[in-house]
Assembly symmetry: none
Homo-oligomer: 404 residues x 2
């Protein structure tokens, strides 16, 4: 049997005053989700474990069966994926800032006046080859960026150059072990060349003319090696795909070997075309056995503290189920959940467990006819994120017996 | 946000005939606990894991985030703490007995006629210094005592002298490895000196006169090194305190670096002044971020098989909530649970999971308006002891996100 796992990012919530004490999921009209709940099973899932506040990266890894304790190598690689850089296992990724230094090379602004416009042009010119090493550089939000080194003998055995304060010089880039010498050499050469490139860059000339702080230096920190993740398809002996517009989630899916079925033009926001995403997922199931679909609007609305927008996005999801998964609900395994809670009252991720819905032909039935945080606690399922792939494969009759 | 964790020792129970088939928690009038349950979340917690019968030591360690598999070094150190000895990481502690030997040095009674009175006088005289090693000796209940060695080069690489039977000689004290030679030498010297001290002791002369068995030898066994526990305050970046009259619990709290806020005069029994304990805990929250409060009466009543006393002690707890934690319930995280179950029908600890109640501003609501073993199973929480600190920190918005 084929499997679709639909993850509404940041789905879980808490009671909201603006919704009369209900959660967005409780307040939303959700004919299809409730129908699936009534026919199938519901419950709560702790994406990592109780009390641990998940990131979207750690929870997606865990849901796909990659224990973050083993495979999560820090924010560097995963934030780099979040910029849209396509990374490979073994790449070394750093979090980077565009910064402003003065004539003496002293940092006067670690964030280059929180520069927004034009950083993509700067970043583009910082991609280069040094010796046999590929240097990838990609802008993120505002002054943030990702610096990635790809090549033989590259590792994280180097110091950061970010002085983590102002009126300080960037720190010397030195190897912290014998093995780090090549990486330090490449980074030193990159820093030298980047100073030259940024100084002469039209965008900085323009900013100079406007009296704005130039983005004339790169500070980096928090290097991590992109983990080499065992291939999803080999691991589970099935073919997998994904539909996800958010770069971080797409990056993880790609890294484990899921095939991209994301339609053009969709976004990771509340205004995305959920219908189109779900249609592409249904089509993908003709080719592959497993599809992960991520919709991000719930998380965005949570971070914005907008209960109404979150409720409406859930209604949009429910409505998109109608002409997609509901048509094939009696032939496949459908799992709907979130990767963590982002309560509108908190505006950040929390460790609250997330409601989960599991529907497949012939399953046990909870007969709980509402799908939300409160009713889910009375259901059959009480999972931790690391259980999810096993439960899905087992529901699809794809699990092997452990023993005789 | 600040956190109070109230542990009613041995809280969990089973249906009791003398309470019409209810548990003491079900039978108790508990206005405040029910109110908190209705406003917050309830559930069940396995102090260690399902089916494991917890001690108060292993469960308190686990609740505070110290995995007993890693940190529990056996009964020796923890029983020694239970006598009230203040131990330090690295001390080596043995369980000891006052025993009776005859003129030939053969053990005729391993328990010295289950001596009760006066052992504190004997124990006091057995504190001494041998070479550079401090020998601490403290009486426990009846014939039981704790023997602790504190000093450089002391370890557990020695044999026990307890023959574990009568009409046998105490076993030779020998080092079981090269490293144990110093410890064996100290213990041999202690045994020699203790024979002399006990022989001449007024209490033994008195017992001789009364035809009672003399406590004229010390048998010891089960040596363990007091674990060096990472400091609680550093580990969680908060300041912690405790209110606990029971020596074992207080010893663990002290060992992890919690500050003592226990009021003078309170006890670890059913007649303790719960009000005073809770008032001191509320005051402690002005100074620290986290307070653990242990009340022991529930466990005592459980061991006594006294359902009525257990029910009444729970009512005493509930009533003490009124003028303490209820006054600040909307400003802090309140967690109420037990460290294990001590059902009155069993009179011993059991592995039954324990009801837990969690209340903090803005939390999800279970709307379960009774707090007991039965209603708790319908709640949101299903935890293991090792999750508890994470859940508490997360509820207080003190948890860091794991990932991005």
């Amino acid at each position: 049997m084929k499997i679709v796992l639909i993850i509404a990012d940041g789905l879980g919530d808490r009671p909201s005053d603006s919704l009369g004490g209900l959660t967005p999921l409780q307040a939303a009209k959700k004919y299809n989700l409730n129908l699936l709940a009534g026919e199938g099973m519901v419950g709560l899932i702790d994406p990592i474990q109780p009390g641990i506040v998940p990131g979207s990266d750690t929870s997606h890894l865990n849901y796909l069966g990659y224990d973050p304790v083993k495979y999560y190598t820090g924010r560097g690689p995963f934030e780099a994926m979040g910029t849209g850089l396509q990374l490979k296992g073994g790449d070394v990724a750093f979090r980077a800032n565009f910064a402003t230094i003065d004539h003496d090379g002293v940092v006067v602004d670690r964030r280059a006046g929180r520069i927004r416009a034009g950083t993509s042009k700067l970043a583009k010119d910082l991609n280069m080859k040094i010796e046999d090493v590929e240097v990838l550089f990609k802008e993120g939000t505002e002054h943030r960026a990702a610096l990635v080194l790809r090549g033989e003998g590259i590792n994280t055995e180097v110091s950061d150059n970010d002085p983590h304060g102002e009126n300080l010089r960037p720190k010397d880039i030195i190897a912290t072990s014998e093995d780090g010498k090549k990486t330090a050499r490449i980074l030193n050469e990159f820093y030298k060349r980047s100073l030259q490139i940024l100084k002469e860059h039209p965008l900085n000339r323009e900013r100079r003319g406007q009296g704005l702080r130039e983005a004339n230096a790169i500070l980096y920190r928090g290097g991590g090696m992109v983990p080499k993740l065992p291939d999803f398809n080999q691991r589970y002996s099935i073919k997998g795909g994904y539909v996800a517009a958010v770069a971080l989630v797409a990056g993880i899916c790609k890294l484990v070997g899921l095939k991209d079925f994301t339609p053009p033009g969709v976004t990771g926001s509340t205004d995305t075309d959920v219908n189109k995403k779900f249609q592409y997922a249904v089509n993908a199931l003709k080719e592959v056995d497993f599809v992960l679909v991520n919709v991000k609007g719930t998380d965005i609305a949570g971070h914005d503290g907008n209960a109404k927008a979150k409720k409406e996005f859930i209604e949009k999801i429910d409505s998109a189920f109608e002409s997609s998964f509901m048509k094939i609900k009696d032939e496949i395994v459908i799992c709907f959940t979130g990767d963590h809670s982002t309560p509108v009252s908190v505006r950040e991720h929390t460790s609250d467990p997330v409601p989960i819905l599991l529907h497949y032909p012939g399953s046990r039935m909870d007969r709980i006819r509402e799908f939300d945080e409160d009713s889910a606690k009375g259901g059959s399922l009480r999972l931790r994120g690391g259980d999810l792939m096993n439960v899905l494969l087992s529901s699809a009759n794809l699990a092997e017996k452990y023993g005789a």
